[in-house]
Amino acid sequence: GIQVEQSPPDLILQEGANSTLRCNFSDSVNNLQWFHQNPWGQLINLFYIPSGTKQNGRLSATTVATERYSLLYISSSQTTDSGVYFCALDDMRFGAGTRLTVKP
């Protein structure tokens, strides 16, 4: 199956900082999603982005399918952004996640 690799595994930021999370995959995909899992365990879909760029407030994502990677940008981070960010591919294979901690 497709291999998914997320980086960095852990990220600690001060409130207000910007960050970039990366998802690499080993083969072409038809579908890619980014999720945020909050500290209480609830998973929320952030972007459905098999290709191109999307933006939603302080978050944006870009998938370059030909290069087999996707990036999630978080600008002006807030403490509520803390949690684990996962990317998932079209066979519902999840990466190991990036654990983000935003300090006040």
Binding site: N30, N31, Q33, F35, G41, Q42, L43, I44, N45, Y48, V84, F86, A88, D90, D91, M92, R93, F94, G95, A96, G97, R99
Partner: protein, 117 residues
């Protein structure tokens, strides 16, 4: 806001018991999924379904079963619980198109935290 529900939210049981975790969604989604997740770790697909009377196995399916008799309901059963089953179980749903696995966003329930003593 997604309308997908899981019960119970927390369950503590003894080894060898048979348990059923419930999942329901009111969005009319055809595709539903069960995942197992240890705290802070990646999700592992257990089972999924394309629609009524459809069930498929994922990576961790060997010790559990599912059924899909109604579109909105997708229960997961562990025939004989073991301490190794202690984990969080997440149910999800999405729309499904014949052109691919997922055509729209995937919505997750709040999860069931299972502890097997």
């Amino acid at each position: 806001e997604a309308d997908i529900y899981q019960t119970p939210r927390y369950l503590v049981i003894g080894t060898g018991k048979k348990i059923t975790l419930e999942c329901s969604q009111t969005m009319g989604h055809d595709k539903m999924y069960w995942y197992q997740q240890d705290p802070g770790m990646e999700l592992h697909l257990i089972h999924y379904s394309y629609g009524v009377n459809s069930t498929e196995k994922g990576d961790l399916s060997s010790e559990s079963t599912v059924s899909r008799i109604r579109t909105e309901h997708f229960p997961l059963t562990l025939e004989s619980a073991r301490p190794s089953h202690t984990s969080q179980y997440l149910c999800a749903s999405s729309e499904y198109s014949l052109t691919g696995w997922i055509t729209d966003t995937q919505y997750f329930g709040p999860g069931t935290r299972l502890t097997v003593l």
